[in-house]
Structure formats: C-alpha cells, structure tokens
Amino acid sequence: MTTTAPKKKGRALNSSYEAAIVLKEYWEGAARHRAEGRPVAWVSGNVPIELFWALGIYPVYPENYSAVCASIQRAQELCEEAEERGYSIDLCSYSRVNLGIVLGKGVDHPDLPYGGLPRPDMLVTTRIPCLPQVKWWEVVREFFDIPMFVVDATMVDLPIRESQRQHYLGQIRELIPCLEKKLGVRFQEDTFLETLKLSDRAAEIWLELLDLRTAVPSPVGSREMCGNVFPLVAMLGNPRTIEFFTHLRDEAKQCVQEGKGALENERIRLGWDNIPMWYNLKFFSDVEDRNAIFTYETYLRYVWGGRMDLNDPWTAFADKHLDVWLNYSINQRVRTLLHDIVKFKLDGLVFHQNRSCKRFSMGQRDLAQVIQENLGVSSLFIESDMADPRAYAEAPTRVKMEAFLEMLEGKKS
C-alpha cells in the first residue's frame, strides 16, 4: 500500500547550510570579544538577551555549547566528568556537560569545540525555564567566584498578569545598574530600543517561516529547523540573525508557492514536543523514508523569540520573556497545543519524555490525553534525553516509532 519514495538527499532549504556558519561566527565572536578584553557574561535560555547586545556584553550560552557537544557526540564523556565529581546522572545533561568542562579539563581546553568556552565576567540566569538552571549557575559561581544575577518569574496563564509583568520589570531595573557597575558598561535606552527592533524583526521572520510549514506539503522538517533555531536563542538583537532568517523564509516561501515539499510524497504530518535529542537529530529524518515529516515543534515555536509591540516596549519586552512554553501552566499548554494541531494539520504528536527537562516533560500526559479526546489525534511517548546519549534506546524507540507510523497510515486510508 505504501510506496516508499526515493528520499531527497541533503537539505530541503539550501539556506540551512548557513546555520553552521552563523553558529561558528557566534562562537568565534565570543572568543574575539574575550580576547579584546570586552565583557562576557554567561547566560541561559530566556534571559533578557537584547540587553546584552545593546550593552556590548557578549552573551555566551553554555546550554547551546552543551547541545553542540552532544551533536558532535562529545556529550557522554563530559557528562561522565561531571558525574565523577558527584553530579548525579539524574541531573540535566546540559548542566552535566557544562560542569564536566568547567570542573574537568577547563573551559579553554584546546580539545573543545570552537577552542573552548570564553571565561565569564559575570553570570546571569533566570528561573523562567526551570529552577535547576539557577542551581547549576550556583555551582558555576562557586567555581569562578564572580557576580551573579538571577531573574525570577512565576509561571503564567495567558494573558500575563500585571503583577507578573511588574515582577519581571522590577528585576530588569535592578539588573541594568548591576551590569553597569560590575562590567563598566553604560545603558542607553535608544540603543536598547534599536536592539529590540532588530529582535522583533528576527522573531517576525522566524514566525513567518514556521507558519509556512502549515502548508501541505511542508517545505522543511524538524531536523533542519532544529539546526536553524540557534540565532533565535542567542542572537536576538543581532542583525546577522535577520539576514539568515530572511534567506530561510524566502526560500521556504518559494517552495510553498511552487507546491514543493521537503518530501516528494508527504503522507503523515507529525509534531514534536520537548527539546530534541541533539546527538540524534537523524531521528527526525528517519521517518521520511515512510513519507512522514515532522513539521511542528513546541520547542521552536514557543521557547524562543516572540513578537513585541514596540509602541509599549518595556511591557512588550517583559511579556515576551514570560510568554514561553516552559513557563506556561499545563492549562495554557493544552490551549496552545489544541490550536496548533489544527493549524498545522498534524496527524500525530511525538512526546519526548526528556529526563533532563522535567519542566517540559511534566504535564505531557495531560496534553496527550486532551488532544486524543478533543481532536482524535494520537501520540507516542519516547523516553530519552536531550544531550546524554546513554538514555536513548535505539532499537525499542525505532520499533515504537514504526508501529506508530503504521497506525497513523492505517487511520488515513
């Protein structure tokens, strides 16, 4: 019944090849910044990133670095370095990779990708994605003995409450003088507002790109898109991001206009919840042999970026940072997912029960239940980890995935 179409080789969008270049530029830029004696901060997901670009502080993302290590199959050895020092195997694997580097060979060991992680002058983190993030940073602070600032926030049900917004902004008002004082920089609102514009422009193009993936057939699958998202995390406010995303968007737009999909014979449309397995992005493209495509990810849509109404920049700035998937209550996640499944015309959802990201993984069973009951959309659960390959069981996962696809095919015919 199912005919296996010849698989398209290479990337669906040629512009995706640019991702590796942008990533390299970012890390080389960080090293250069450090070498020139300009301030470097280690930051984490959902920090007020635009502030750093506006202030001339280079924001270095150890999380991204951990994902990079995982993608080149270096994560396990680094995790083990951290475990050796007493950090439990049950802890977040991003943090284990990072602590393996920091407490192990050291951040500037020549053996590391991009020549290592530039040393931080300051640590800035937030509890928005999760609480363990803060604890991880405490360990890093213990090692480097440098100033640290943590932005707190409580979880949201949209719309965001005024008190939550004021909580966030109050802390930003404390953070700015703190950065000025500790790192010798000067805040200028004009520059900051300019940066916000660049950030919002990048987010706008990114969202257009994601929306193009509602098209049947979808122009681009998750494997490629997970490789493309990085500038949205770390380089919001940097013009290079706009340039790259524009290339992607334009190419995808053309594909959609021409009715050209990433697959020649797209039959099944899938969504993905949680952080991908960075050491195994192939997981996404493997399903393409069966004419299935991952065309939606909560991780790419709601964890980074987000639009801002720049008529009221500070409010918009706060809201953008609070309005992220990991900071959503379960009820909010349910509402959002129900909407998007219809919008992206998904046949099935794959939930990654990610041992390393509890905040993402708790509540997934509720989501699966609701989409089944309300929309009749089935889901599959796979238990694994975003960076530690030891948690991935290849064979049983494959068997499950194949059975799931067969089931979805059966439903369609």
Binding site: R85, G86, Y87, S88, D90, L91, C92, S95, R127, C130, L131, P132, V134, K135, W136, E138, V139, E142, V150, D152, T154, M155, S163, H167, G170, Q171, R173, E174, S329, I330, N331, Q353, R355, K358, R359, S361, M362, G363, Q364, R365, D366, E383
Partner: protein
C-alpha cells in the same frame, strides 16, 4: 510514655487527621516550608504537612514521570486514591518545579478540592522579589479569608504566633539535648518529636514536647557515648527506620539541618509590631531551603549545627530526582572536605532501601572512626 504517644501519631498521620475532620475541625494540607501555617492556624484550621507515603505509586504514574520524584508522585497518588478527601483544602508553595506542576495537576484531576498556590519567588534577594514575595503571601491570606469567610484577626494571629514560636523554642531545646555529650535525648525520639509536629496541633505538640523535655531533665543520660556523632543533612527524612540502622552501625544523629527538621522550625516570628508583616518577614528571612537562593545562610546553618554537635561526619540523605539538593551536594561535600569533615551521600525515595544503605553507612562509620580495624 510521651515517647510512645509521639511515635503513635506517626504510625498513621492521615488516619489521625481524619479523626479531626470527623470531629468537625478543618484540616489544611500544606506542602513545603514556605506555607505560613500561622495564618491557617489563626483562621482556626489545622495545618497538616503532606509528606507522601511509602506505598507504591500507580495512578499518579499516568500523569507524572518517575523523574518527577517520589514526593510529588506520592502525594498525587494519595489524592487520586481518595486518601486526602477529608482535607478542607491544599496549600502548595511554588517551590520545586515538580511541586509547582503538582498544583496544575491538582486543579485538573482532583476536582472539587480547594487548592491554593502561594506563588512566591525562588530568589529571596532584591527589593523587587521582596515586594513580590510579600504580595504573594498577602494574596494567600486573602484567599484564605475568602475560604473561611472571616477576616484574619490580628489578635488571633498574635496568639497563633506565640504558639508557633513556643513550638520552635521547644524543638530547639530538643535539638540541644540531642547534641549534648552524652546525648540527653535519643535520635529516634528527636525525629519522632519533630515529625509528629507536622501532624499534631501545635498546642498538643507543645504539651508533649514540654513533657518530653521534662522527662529528659529527670533521666540520667544514656550510655550512647560510644556512638559516633554524625550530622544529617537533606530535604526530607521521614524514614524512621534509618536511625536504628545508624545505631546498629555504631553511629547516631547528633544534629541535622533537614528540610523536615531544623530548617522548618529554626526561625521565630518577631512578636512585636504588625503580626501579618512579621509572619511574612519570617518566611522571607528564614533559613532558605535548597530550592531557594541564596544558599549561603543554609550553609552557615549547617556549619553551626555541626560545630554545636561536634559531629565527626555528615550524611546527606537526598531524594532521588530532587535536583536542587543534588546540585548542592558536591559543593557542600567539597567545602566540608576542606574542613576535614568526611561525608556520605545516600539516595532516598522517602525510604532508604535497606541493605545497600547499611553497607554504605557501616563502611562510612568505620572510616570516620579511623581505619578499618577499629
């Protein structure tokens, strides 16, 4: 005699609280050290600390992955099994991510039960966080008032504060007797005394504690002197079989900084000034638990306890999947090592699984004593 009463309470804490409900008292389930129990008490309800159970989790596995940790899973299990229906309501504070998600799950799957989330920051530093912390506590107060239908009276709150403060002072006295050399209070009795306070009314608990302290004063101290004094640290210790095991291995708990121990009761409320503000301030300033920043006051508390008890080693009893404590452990271990204090890590899931724990503890005690052959 009072010792038996204390331990009896712990055989079936939920059964105990069910009795009150039958007698017409309202019992409020509380989760974590940042629930201002004084407010609940002043509103004439009985706060009951939810500590899960050792029974296996089945129903809750539908909603929470194993790595959410045993405490959250176990409490959800109790609720899904219908074992908490006698409670007037549940109060959760925004502590660990698992507990925060538990609130969402409660709203979705335990219909009809009143549940409140005290949405406090995790970062207890800075003016903004202080303001938000205070606001979250006040919101909880209002929610409570709406629930009971009567405003929180300053006079009633002052009385509650006095009762709670007395409780804290009595427990501190118990801790001092535990740390004395030789100990004037056994570790087992001390733990029972602390844990029973999560179940009993504070008035009744105070009465028992006074009797207990009185009987300790009359008794001549136990021979316990040969036991190696150890400090126990961790978020939660409810497995009472751990202390007999420790003793069989030649050691005893001489001090602790447990989340379900001194970190819960150590700090008092200022009895002068506005009582509502004083209660809020107490929770803002209390020894921060592992899921709160900063960590320094907690470290200083741990150190001062060790200094007082002259413990020769530290055992960390840490819940599996309790990330906050798992991150702290290596830092604490290294700082202790730098001071020449050895430590041991034990994994717990509300219970400390028998034989492996015995092997670890026995070996650790041998090492602390110096040499394998003593």
């Amino acid at each position: 005699m009072v010792r038996t009463e204390l331990s009896q309470v712990l055989c079936d804490p939920l059964g105990f609280s069910r009795q009150w409900s039958r007698e017409g008292c309202r019992v409020m389930g509380c989760l974590d050290n940042y629930v201002p129990e004084e407010f609940i008490h002043a509103e004439e309800m009985i706060p009951l600390r939810l500590l899960g159970s050792t029974e296996s989790v089945t129903l809750a596995d539908t909603f929470l992955p194993v790595f959410a940790g045993k405490l959250a899973r176990s409490i959800l299990e109790q609720a899904l099994q219908g074992n908490l229906v006698h409670l007037a309501g549940i109060v959760l504070s925004n502590s660990s991510d698992a507990v925060r998600m538990l609130y969402d799950l409660w709203e979705r799957h335990i219909p009809g039960q009143w549940v409140a989330l005290i949405d406090v920051p995790a970062i207890l530093e800075g003016e903004t966080n202080h303001r938000v912390f205070r606001q979250a506590m006040l919101e909880f107060k209002e929610k409570l008032e709406k629930f009971t239908g009567k405003p929180l009276e300053a006079a009633a709150l002052r009385r509650s504060i006095a009762v709670f403060n007395e409780n804290r002072r009595l427990l501190k006295k118990a801790a001092a007797l535990l740390s004395a050399s030789p100990p004037r209070l056994s570790a087992e009795t001390y733990l029972d005394a602390v844990l029973s306070g999560f179940v009993l009314t504070k008035e009744k608990h105070n009465e028992y504690l006074r009797q207990l302290l009185e009987s300790c004063r009359r008794e001549t101290p136990d021979r316990g002197g040969q036991l190696v004094p150890l400090h126990i640290s961790g978020p939660i210790l409810v497995d009472r079989s751990f202390l007999p095991l420790l003793q069989e291995c030649g050691a005893t708990m001489a001090s602790e900084d447990l989340g379900t121990g001194s970190r819960y009761y150590w700090d008092e409320v200022d009895e002068t000034g506005d009582p509502i503000e004083a209660v809020i301030e107490r929770y803002w300033r209390k020894i921060p638990d592992s899921y709160k920043t900063p960590m320094k006051p907690r470290w200083l508390h741990l150190l001062s306890q060790i200094e007082r008890s002259k413990a020769r080693g530290v055992i960390f009893v840490i819940e599996k999947y309790s990330d906050e404590d798992q991150y702290d452990y290596p830092v604490w271990r290294d700082r202790l090592r730098a001071r020449g204090i050895p430590s041991l890590l034990l994994d717990s899931e509300l219970v400390l699984e028998g034989e492996q724990v015995r092997t670890r503890v026995q070996t650790f005690v041998d090492i602390v004593r110096g040499g394998a052959f003593s």
